[in-house]
Amino acid sequence: MNDHYDVLIIGGGPGGAMAGKAVAEAGLSCCIIEKRPAIGTPVRCAEGVGQEIYDFIDLDPKWVSARIQSAELVAPNGQVIELSSEMAGNEVGYVLDRKMFDRELIWRAANAGSDVYVKTRAVDAIVEDGAVKGARVEYAGEIRNISAKIVIAADGVESKFARWCGIDTTVPMNELETCVQYLMTDIDIDSSVNVFYLGNEMAPEGYVWIFPKGERTANVGIGISGKKCKDGSRPKDYLDRFVQEKFPKGKIIELIVGGVSACRPLRSTVANGLMIVGDAARVSDPLTGGGIINAMYTGKLAGEVAAECIKEGNLTAAVLKKYDTIWRESAMGKGIERNYQIKEIMIRLSDQKMDSILSSVQKMDLEVIGTKEIVRELIKYNPWLLKEMSNLKKILG
């Protein structure tokens, strides 16, 4: 490990790996540090992604667990609504094997020339004259100072680096989805369908998911709002009840826990010498909880902008802000804001209203499955939505 790099990246998940690859490809020196002893584990993820994955990487069976052709929404009253693409047999998304996927991304960063160190943890930020200048890291039991022109914080939902730089990254309790997932096997599922269960009894301000991982195997999980979580009604309690009823004979071969932010992204994702990406920037989708693609997008973009700014020799927040502006104006940034508004509406719906809305979905003729299209169709059949929720008009633009 060198004492100095052009860019130091905190965290070796998809955001950090994409950033590292972009920096190294621009010909600059780069180091990714990961506090865990292995890239890709433990998994903290339901592993679902949409077609946007193709913007970053070609599919490889090594890290694709299942190809998804349709989704089913199960309404609070039990009614099942199927959403599939117009063309039968088309894939609408994938369930990944994150253990392999994360390694593939890190390998690509390393192959491009980035250093990678595992079991290496940032313990503090080095800040001089109001600018981030590197990190103090613990490496093999020894504390070292690593200086860098730019530090990219890709340290996930439990991010501390940006906080050490003076940025408040606290997720409000009511906007933290608290999640438990079992990797289950020997269960009866359709391995090409993602299933979502909605309703306040099932998962208050969240949902239960079944994401196939192959034949008779799936991620079966739940996320609920932190404010609905307390002793006796924690996500594990809800999930155990669900599994007992639905898959009483299934075997649980992995316990996965985690938190997903459903708040708006950080007010600013840059400071002097610092850029924040992925879950650490709170750019996971507030409606679906999806974070992989958003982390990859922001990570790659941050790496590209960092390299540009270093070559130009200006590392101030005002210049790095380009990264912040680009992602906010991107389809991803706009999607986050729209889905935040939709989430705010969804969490206030009674089960009865949810049933009524979902029953109209069956009349839908979807050409594209996207949140915006679904909401527009929903309003057509449930005009009262507009009256009650004045924000919707704004969202649909």
Binding site: K35, K119, V171, M173, L176, K236, G258, G259, S261
Partner: protein, 61 residues
């Protein structure tokens, strides 16, 4: 005073993200609390997916 039940904790970091004081930290496979920073607000104990955290006195919630 926050107590961490290590036999229950899944070291996921959900608690770290909601701590307003930055008192919690996930170090690889174990969670630590900085007793000087922790104000016993109990927010972390509320959101824990497994119920691994306990505050002896939750008056401030």
């Amino acid at each position: 005073m926050l107590s961490i039940r290590r036999e229950i904790c899944g070291y996921c970091g959900a608690c770290v993200s909601v701590c307003p004081e930055g008192a919690l930290e996930l170090i690889d496979a174990y969670l630590t609390v900085d007793a000087d920073r922790c104000r016993d607000c109990g927010i972390c104990a509320r959101v824990c997916p497994l119920g691994a955290l306990e505050v002896a006195d939750e008056r401030s919630l």
